[in-house]
């Protein structure tokens, strides 16, 4: 068993888990934050993308024990004081989702991309979202949403 302490969306948690517990299962089953999804179980689809210590990572391929002392942000932590994060707003405005299953992970990946590269070219957007698969949209509106969010990033988030 592993004793872990971590911060999730600004809130401190302390848990004891089996060593083999995946971070995504801790987040979903134990903490009840079910916005983070499990899509493929093979580290390809990116539906489980969260931020750990400021970097976008796939929570299905990290042990909860590895996240001891980590600072985690999930999709539930993106909106502030009832206001959508600019990336979330852009996804709404640009109709960048249909079924919505990939969307939380996609938003977390986009936020990570724009943090590293505030004004990405089309190629950089395609490359920056290679870790996230969408079966519904064909990605066109997702790319539009990234560009809209990038256009606003200079306004401060």
């Amino acid at each position: 068993m592993a004793k872990i302490r971590l911060t999730v969306n600004g809130k401190k948690y302390s848990r004891e888990v089996e060593d083999r517990t995946l971070l995504v299962d801790l987040i979903r089953d134990d903490l009840g934050l079910t916005g983070t999804h499990i899509g493929c179980d093979t580290t390809q689809c990116g539906c489980c993308t969260i931020h750990m210590n400021g970097r976008a990572v796939k929570a299905c391929t990290i042990l909860a024990a590895q996240a001891n002392k980590a600072d985690i942000v999930t999709i539930e932590g993106m909106a502030k004081d009832g206001k959508l994060h600019p990336v979330q707003q852009a996804f709404t405005d640009c109709h960048a989702l249909q079924c919505g299953f990939c969307t939380p992970g996609m938003i977390m990946a986009v936020a990570g991309l724009l943090k590293d590269n505030p004004h990405p070219s089309d190629e950089e957007i395609y490359h920056g979202l290679e870790g996230n698969l969408c079966r519904c949209t064909g990605y066109i509106n997702i790319v539009k949403a990234v560009k809209q969010a990038a256009g606003q990033s200079s306004g401060g988030h």
Partner: protein, 263 residues
């Protein structure tokens, strides 16, 4: 995955002790290959010894013509480090093409080299640049280190500490990405060193190899078209559902020509 014991190593010495005490233990660095393997129950280690956070494995330095990268440095760090980008920009470019962004935020160069996937990217660079893999026991030259599919010179419990790359005069890496997995169906790293042209090829054969026939031709004339008539024999190449051996042999030629064009 099967139940196991997770231990965060407090130091390199602690990690070595844990590995010695537990013959069924495995080292955990970024986990981007190991954890998917465990999730599929393809391995059943007794312990995971997490060395990903050890500062001793996380330095990037350039000195006297050698770039040294700690084993637990993440791919995105190799890709964005000003030191790497100045010393060996082709290596930064290679790291930027590994996996996907989330995988690059966790996966490490030491983990990749310890695993030696036949379609991994770093082995092409390590072999072309004549890198040295420095472990907690010895220094291993790249040509002795890679021993075939998923096979390396590492002994039981041996831990990669850092990798030393002599900086080339120029280098370039071109990779044919598998459209779904992103792995190298073929990746060719071409380096111009003081000792001449070196071509390291990954993804095409069971293990990384130097394409010496191409090296000799490029030594005479360093142009992509020099290789137009120079082929690798198909029968040494991998064949699977993704590509025939003839297709891979052709990719070796094309990716190497593209890398030369990029120099």
């Amino acid at each position: 995955m099967f139940a196991l014991n997770y231990v965060r190593a407090k130091s390199l010495k602690h990690a070595a002790e844990l590995m010695a005490q537990n013959p069924e233990a495995k080292l955990l660095s970024g986990g981007m290959t190991l954890l998917p393997t465990l999730k599929q129950r393809l391995a059943r280690p007794s312990h995971l010894v997490d060395i990903g956070g050890l500062n001793a494995l996380r330095a990037i330095k350039y000195s006297s013509g050698k770039l040294t990268i700690g084993a637990a440095v993440r791919h995105y760090e190799v890709a964005t480090s000003p030191v790497v980008r100045e010393a060996i920009p082709a290596l930064a470019s290679l790291a930027h093409q590994v996996g996907d962004p989330q995988v690059r935020n966790m996966g490490t160069i030491g983990g990749s080299l310890a695993n030696n996937d036949p379609a991994a990217d770093y082995p092409a660079a390590a072999l072309a640049l004549d890198a040295t893999i420095v472990t907690n026991r010895r220094r291993i030259k790249a040509k002795d280190y890679f021993q075939g599919m998923f096979s390396t010179a590492l002994e039981e419990g041996e831990i990669i500490v850092r990798i030393s790359f002599p900086a080339p005069l120029k280098a370039a890496y071109e990779k044919f990405r598998h459209p779904a997995s992103g792995y190298a169906m073929t990746g060719s790293f071409v380096a111009i060193t003081k000792r001449g042209v070196r071509v390291g090829v990954t993804g095409a054969a069971p293990g990384v190899f130097r394409w010496t026939k191409a090296e000799r031709a490029l030594k005479k004339n360093l142009l992509p078209d020099t290789l137009l008539k120079i082929k690798v024999p198909a029968d040494g190449m991998n064949e699977d559902i993704h590509a025939t051996r003839e297709y891979r042999a052709n990719l070796v030629n094309v990716m190497t020509r593209r890398a030369v064009a990029k120099l």
